[in-house]
């Protein structure tokens, strides 16, 4: 479900940006001051905090954000290739995946697509179960097993989520990459995969492993490669159809979309490993 993660990340970052931007507020007074002929720049929109002792306030926060401009660079030796692949994926999304997803979205109303997304999540249960097991999270394993049993039956194959709604069993966000991270493995270098998008060495290996955690993998003889790929791709179209426009907005906002996504991905994965 690597594409899923990439797509999920895209939507996350879109949400992040948009929610964060609530901060926008401060621009309002700045604008009115401008209109009233006051000096444009020097007036901080928020009257407090930022004004007093600029260096002092930096110190107060430096423990948290480090000293940007020094030491927080991401080691990205493949950046040339990565940027090229990012560009390719960008076009693939805009020219192929997006139009198809829009078409699909017209056919199936949103509540239906949300249900389909749930079913895909349910189907990916082995990834979370094994990922939790590799970290010794037995409680999470139990919750996941319970969720799978409840949602596959009462939830009509996972289209609904009674496990959470009725029994309070929440999805356990685990996968192989997170387990590797928990074992102390670093992320390795960032890598952009064709179509699948942003990942890193560690999580890419985890993803490769996860492809065996679905009964549809051709090695199990139940489905052929084409069927497997179609099912995976279907999930992605479904996902994208629920998040049209989000990637475009990130791209528009970002000074450097590649750096933004790469960095956001690292932060997101680091947080998920920690949990």
């Amino acid at each position: 479900m690597r594409i899923g993660q990439a797509a999920r990340l895209v939507s996350l970052t879109a949400l992040a940006v948009s929610l964060c931007c609530a901060a926008a507020s401060a621009a309002e007074p700045a604008k009115s001051r401008r209109a009233s002929g006051a000096p444009i720049m020097s007036a901080p929109a928020v009257p407090m905090g930022a004004e007093e002792g600029s260096d002092a306030s930096f110190e107060e926060f430096e423990g948290e954000f480090g000293k940007p401009g020094a030491g927080k660079k991401v080691f990205d030796p493949l950046s040339g290739y990565n940027r090229a692949m990012f560009h390719f994926n960008d076009k693939f999304y805009l020219w192929v995946a997006k139009p198809l997803s829009i078409g699909y979205g017209i056919l199936i109303p949103e509540p239906g697509r949300v249900a389909v997304a749930r079913a895909y999540t349910n189907f990916a249960f082995p990834v979370r179960f094994v990922g939790a097991g590799m970290q010794g999270k037995f409680k999470s394993m139990g919750v996941e097993l319970g969720r799978f049993l409840v949602n596959s039956t009462l939830g009509l194959g996972g289209f609904f989520d009674p496990a959470e709604a009725w029994f309070g069993m929440k999805l356990q966000d685990e996968d192989l990459g997170q387990a590797f991270g928990k074992w102390g493995m670093g992320t390795g270098i960032p890598v952009v995969l064709p179509i699948l998008g942003q990942t890193n060495l560690r999580d890419g290996i985890g993803f490769a492993g996860q492809s065996f955690l679905t009964p549809l993998n051709p090695v199990y003889g139940i489905a052929d490669g084409m069927t497997n790929m179609s099912v995976v791709a279907g999930g992605q179209f479904n996902f994208i159809s629920l998040h049209i426009g989000e990637y475009e907005k990130i791209k528009k906002d970002a000074l450097d979309p590649y750096t933004f996504i790469r960095d956001a991905h690292l932060q997101n994965r680091a947080k998920r490993v920690k949990e």
Binding site: L15, V17, V46, E62, A70, K271
Partner: protein, 215 residues
């Protein structure tokens, strides 16, 4: 005598232990009030987009310390490279950038519900973090507000969604740019980005561009 000491102790101990609890309560009130008010405005589809935007900004205005966020995003190292005029221009452009992106996305918010968790004191004194969970289209996103204490109350200095920090994410891009690029180059690029947006923002940014002269 002993009871007097014990009483004094007890009295002394109360404010000491009560202070963090009071802080946590304040933080919780600030965030809950802000989030609820924002959702109320966003969900009122009877209002036009512009009015909803203004309403939301008015709610959030006192809570977010945007100029500080701009500074933190650039970081001390880079911030020091900017002269006064450039610092002012950066702050203004940062504000505009954030505002633009918000303006573009206001309509993404429709069916969200939010759950609140208890605020947690950060490692550093005077700082709190409060996790909220947004339920949207069958998915759950963790949105973490990071606040610090000012004389005017608690203010947000960073927001993380699913671990992705606004300060870090924008900071990484600025940092990346400044590795090779110049400060005027960065300001020009930020200006160009804000100019891509429609409406009154465009006019406002143009005005500021005119006054500050060419980068």
């Amino acid at each position: 005598m002993l009871t007097a000491i014990a009483a004094a102790w007890a009295l002394a101990a109360v404010p000491a232990s009560a202070a963090p609890a009071a802080d946590a309560k304040e933080v919780r009130v600030v965030i809950e009030r802000t989030v609820h008010s924002v959702l109320d405005v966003l969900k009122d589809k009877g209002l036009g987009k512009d009015i909803r935007k203004k309403g939301v900004l008015a709610v959030i205005d006192p809570v977010f310390d945007l100029p500080l966020m701009g500074k933190l995003t650039l970081g001390r190292g880079h911030w020091a490279r900017l002269d006064d005029a450039q610092q002012s221009e950066f702050t203004s452009l940062f504000v505009a950038t954030i505002k633009d992106s918000y303006y573009e996305k206001i309509d993404l918010f429709t069916d969200e519900t939010v759950d609140f968790e208890e605020p947690v004191q950060a490692e550093q004194k005077g700082k709190y973090q409060m996790l909220t969970r947004i339920n949207s289209k069958g998915q759950r996103y963790g949105l973490l507000y990071k606040l610090y204490k000012t004389k005017a109350g608690w203010k947000v200095y960073d927001v993380e969604i699913e671990g992705i920090s606004l300060i870090r994410s924008y900071g990484a891009q600025y940092d990346q740019f400044l590795q090779k690029g110049t400060v005027p180059g960065l300001l020009a690029k930020m200006k160009q980005k804000t100019l891509e947006t429609p409406g009154d923002l465009k006019a406002a940014t143009k005005k500021s561009a005119g006054k500050t002269g060419k980068p």
